[in-house]
C-alpha cells in the first residue's frame, strides 16, 4: 500500500514537472501570439504549422548562443543564480491539488504531490525565496544596472508579500485550514442559491488584492520594474546570455503558471465545476472532468496575465511602492477585519 502510494507520488511528481515545463514553453508561444493579436500582427507563424514549433526553435537558439561570463563577476554565484530561480519556481508546483482523488484498483489516490498541512504557507514561502535567484544574479554580475534590478526586485517582493499574505489570511479564516485540499473542498456547493460557492464571490476585495500582488511577485507587467528595459538596459539579467538567460526568462513563465494555478485553487474553486456531481458519479470520470476544468481556469489566468501586459503601461517605481504600502496593505487589513467580524456575527444570527 505505502509502496504503491510512493510510486504514484513519484510518477505524479515527474508528470507535474513535465506539465510545468510544457505549459511554460507554450506560454512563451501564447505570449507572442497574443502580443501579435493585440498589436494587429500575426505573431510567430513560420516554424511549423501556425508557428507551433517556435518554442523549440527558441530553446535551440538559446542553447547554441555564446555563454558569456563577465570577468569581474562572482563566477560561482553568477552560475548558481538562474538555477535558484528555476528551482524555486518548480518547487511550488508540489502542493497544487490537480483534481479530485482517482480510483486505481480499489484505492483512492490524491492527485497532489505533497498534501501537507500548511500548503498555502508553503507556496508563500517559496514565492518569497524565489527572489534570491534575481538578487544573487543581479549582484554577482557586478553591473550597476543589474544591481539596481536586483534591489528593485527585493524591495518589491517584500512589499507585496505582506498584502498578499493578508489577503490570503481572510480566505484561511473562512475555510479554517491552511491545506489547499481543504480550501478547495470548502468551495463545493452554491452561494446565495445561484452562484458557485467560490471564494472570489465571498472575498472579491481579497481576490483583487491577491491578483495585483501576484502580478508584482511574478515580475510581470505592469510591475516588471526589475527588468525595466527603458531604465535599466535589461535589469537583473543584463549580463546573462545563452541558456542562463533562458532559465531566468523561463522561470518567469513557470511562476506565472503556478500562480495562475494558485489563484484558480484559492479563489475559483480549483477543480470544482458546479452541479457536475449530479450527472457524473464515477470518481475517475469526475477526476478527468475536474482536471480539464482546473486547466481551463489556469489557462484563462495565464491569458489574463498576458492581456494585462499588452494593455497597461509600466508603473513608475515610486508609484509601485505607494500602491503596495499605502493602498493594498490598509485595504487588506480592513478586509481581514470585516471578514473576521462577519464570521463571528454569523454564529449569533
Amino acid at each position: 500500500m505505502t509502496d504503491s502510494i510512493l510510486l504514484f507520488k513519484f510518477v505524479l511528481a515527474i508528470v507535474t514537472f513535465a506539465i510545468s515545463l510544457g505549459v511554460a514553453a507554450y506560454a512563451t508561444y501564447g505570449e507572442r501570439k497574443i502580443a501579435g493579436l493585440f498589436q494587429d500582427r500575426l505573431g510567430p507563424n513560420n516554424a511549423g504549422p501556425w508557428g507551433l514549433l517556435q518554442p523549440l526553435a527558441d530553446g535551440g537558439k538559446m542553447f547554441f548562443k555564446e555563454d558569456f561570463i563577465p570577468a569581474a563577476s562572482e563566477k560561482f554565484l553568477f552560475i548558481l543564480a538562474p538555477g535558484i530561480a528555476m528551482f524555486t519556481a518548480l518547487m511550488t508546483s508540489a502542493i497544487i491539488p490537480w483534481t479530485s482523488p482517482i480510483l486505481i484498483s480499489g484505492a483512492l489516490y490524491q492527485v497532489q504531490v505533497a498534501d501537507i498541512d500548511i500548503g498555502i504557507l508553503y507556496s508563500l514561502g517559496f514565492v518569497s525565496i524565489g527572489v534570491y535567484g534575481i538578487m544573487i544574479g543581479g549582484w554577482a554580475s557586478n553591473n550597476k544596472y543589474s544591481l539596481m534590478g536586483a534591489i528593485r526586485a527585493s524591495s518589491q517582493m517584500i512589499s507585496y508579500e505582506l498584502a498578499m499574505g493578508l489577503a490570503l489570511l481572510a480566505v484561511i479564516m473562512m475555510s479554517g485550514s491552511l491545506s489547499l485540499n481543504d480550501i478547495v473542498a470548502a468551495q463545493k456547493g452554491s452561494f446565495l442559491g445561484f452562484l458557485p460557492n467560490w471564494n472570489v464571490f465571498k472575498q472579491p476585495v481579497g481576490f483583487l488584492i491577491f491578483l495585483i500582488c501576484a502580478f508584482a511577485e511574478t515580475n510581470r507587467a505592469p510591475f516588471d520594474l526589475p527588468e525595466c528595459e527603458t531604465e535599466l538596459v535589461g535589469g537583473y539579467h543584463t549580463e546573462y546570455s545563452s541558456m542562463k538567460l533562458g532559465l531566468f526568462l523561463f522561470s518567469e513563465y513557470i511562476n506565472m503558471f503556478i500562480s495562475s494555478a494558485i489563484i484558480a485553487t484559492v479563489y475559483f474553486g480549483g477543480y470544482n465545476l458546479p452541479l457536475i456531481g449530479r450527472f457524473v458519479t464515477d470518481p475517475n470520470a469526475l477526476a478527468a472532468i475536474g482536471f480539464a476544468v482546473f486547466f481551463a481556469k489556469i489557462l484563462f489566468f495565464i491569458f489574463f496575465y498576458m492581456w494585462i501586459r499588452w494593455t497597461l503601461p509600466r508603473f513608475r517605481y515610486d508609484q509601485l511602492m505607494h500602491l503596495g504600502w499605502k493602498s493594498l496593505i490598509p485595504i487588506a487589513i480592513i478586509n481581514l477585519l470585516v471578514t473576521g467580524a462577519v464570521l463571528i456575527l454569523k454564529d449569533y444570527l
Binding site: L124, S128, S154, I158
Partner: protein
C-alpha cells in the same frame, strides 16, 4: 542508523559548517548567503521532526524576509575591502570578551538544564498547525499576547524613526 538520523546528522554538519563560514568569510555578502544556508538546514531539521508550521515560518520569516532585507542593505552599501572601516584594537578586544562571555553563559545554560526526561515516543503530530494553535491560544496565551505587544511597539518605533528622518530632509 535510519534515513532520518543520517539526514539529521548531515543537516547538523551543514548548519555548523555554514555558521562557521558566516563568521570567517571576508565578503559580507558571502556571510549573508552562508547564513541563509544555515537557516535552511535548521528548517530541514524541523521537517524531520514533522514540525511543518515551524519549518515554513522559519523559511518565510528568516530566509524569505529578514535575510532578503540583510542582502538588500548590504548590496546597497556595496562594502568591499577599499571602503571597509578600520576597526580599532580596543573595539576588537571588547567584541572578543563579549563573544566569549556569551559562549560561557550558553554552556552554563546547557549544563544547568540537566536531565530533560524526553518522552521515548514523542508525539509526531504536535508540530502541526492545529495542535500548535491550540497550545498557543490556551496554555501559552499570555506570553503570546505579550510578544505581539512587543512586535507592535517595535513597528511603531520603526515608523517613528523613519518619519523623523524624512521630516529632517523636508
Amino acid at each position: 542508523m535510519g534515513v532520518s538520523e543520517i539526514l539529521a546528522y548531515a543537516l547538523g554538519i551543514i548548519s555548523v559548517a555554514s555558521a562557521l563560514l558566516v563568521v570567517f568569510s571576508k565578503n559580507p555578502i558571502h556571510s549573508v548567503l552562508y547564513l541563509i544556508i544555515t537557516f535552511f538546514s535548521i528548517a530541514g531539521q524541523y521537517v524531520l521532526l514533522n514540525a511543518q508550521f515551524l519549518f515554513i515560518v522559519q523559511i518565510i520569516v528568516y530566509s524569505g524576509a529578514i535575510m532578503v532585507l540583510f542582502l538588500f542593505v548590504l548590496m546597497l552599501l556595496n562594502l568591499n575591502k577599499d571602503t571597509e572601516p578600520q576597526k580599532s584594537n580596543l573595539f576588537k578586544f571588547i567584541s572578543i570578551i563579549t563573544a566569549c562571555s556569551l559562549f560561557i553563559s550558553m554552556i552554563a545554560m546547557v549544563k544547568g538544564v540537566g536531565n530533560l526526561n524526553l518522552p521515548s515516543e514523542p508525539d509526531s503530530q504536535i508540530g502541526l498547525v492545529k495542535n500548535l494553535g491550540m497550545v498557543l491560544f490556551s496554555k501559552y496565551v499570555i506570553p503570546f499576547e505579550l510578544s505581539s505587544v512587543l512586535f507592535i511597539s517595535g513597528m511603531v518605533g520603526a515608523v517613528m524613526i523613519g518619519k523623523k528622518e524624512t521630516h529632517d530632509i523636508n
